[in-house]
Assembly symmetry: C2
Homo-oligomer: 213 residues x 2
Amino acid sequence: MIKTVVIDDDKLVSLSLKTILESGSEITVAEIGSSGSEAIALYEKHAPDVMLMDIRMNDMTGIEAGEKILSAHPDARILYLTTFSDDEYIVKALNMGAKGYILKQDFEGIAPAVSAVMRGQRVFGDEVMTRLPELMQRKSAFDFAAHDISEKEQEIIVLVARGLSNKEIAAQLFLSEGTVRNYLSSILDKLSLRDRTQLAVFYYTKCSGSADF
Amino acid sequence: MIKTVVIDDDKLVSLSLKTILESGSEITVAEIGSSGSEAIALYEKHAPDVMLMDIRMNDMTGIEAGEKILSAHPDARILYLTTFSDDEYIVKALNMGAKGYILKQDFEGIAPAVSAVMRGQRVFGDEVMTRLPELMQRKSAFDFAAHDISEKEQEIIVLVARGLSNKEIAAQLFLSEGTVRNYLSSILDKLSLRDRTQLAVFYYTKCSGSADF
DNA sequence: AATTTTATATGACAAATGTCATGTATCGAC
DNA sequence: GTCGATACATGACATTTGTCATATAAAATT
């Protein structure tokens, strides 16, 4: 028997979920809650095998609640439910160590998902998974401001990361080649890099995705 | 009732799988096969709801077989089994549209995985999923062979893409700096690039991921 | 054994790169 | 109006880079 706790803002949803989950003989819903803080409390109270939780709720996002639970119980199995792929959260949930992320519309799929999660698998809705590659790309945007990188410097970074030479960059931005060099020099200094190649590497590994390209 | 076909090189494995899957009352194994070509034939013959397939087999990789099946039946549900995370294949399988990728050691997890897949979810073993973020970065591997890029040249590409100077690369590979330059020169020529920075850009956008890093 | 390939190395050279000190014009603050 | 900041530019310099022609020894072919 798999013991679960269901958390959803909308009572109607959580009750339907309870019904669905308990319609088989494998799953029980120990209790249902409707907020992030309740999620934490109920996890402590029941120590469920699997916790099903809505991603977006009033007081706290499901992510935050999940983080708290996981920091106290690293082996907690949290399965997120979402109405319609809330893109932003998918990657976070994944990195956080959530065991799954599925659409709640998908009634039939939920019970099997719970039991797969119980057995150590991770489960993702088809649509969710499909978007994943693209979401994954977007790395954590690098905080240029924190490093005193000006607008113009950022433009230059982007062009360097496109493989342009100083001369080409100069032409593109209507600057003299010398000026471009000066900018570049200051960029390298600020980021503690040695040359344009390292800057390109930096761009593709640490930052990326903020602006164009 | 979920109809499945199981494909595994090792008869022992496929028979055990059959037993496990059929121990519940939800899944039947219509037939078992042991090669990529058989996979295709058996898919045609039974049109199973879910096909469980080993990743590495004699005649053909599970990936190839899967590709063929999916091109003929885009909605086929293929669930890959792997002995121990064969990293290289994970991303391919995912992009290809496989419904899951789980460890076969994980007996208990397999049946729930099959039923979750049947319901439209995608299922991944915990270990598999954990590696995913890092594997994802690595774009579709570039075909070095097609461009006459030698082993040594590839090593150099990787180091350039790490931001090392010629001198550093030379030290790393126990070559003279001049030799490194020569290699690099020939690489640039073969790939029609102009300088090391463009090579790094190339590495992060077009190829990447074949070797280390 | 003779020959070709392969892997490595050199040296010479031009171009690109990065650094630095300095110069000039504009613009806003005081 | 002066002062200081900002944005752009220069020139000089050392280094690094990329290209090319050539060399050598070992390994593979013949």
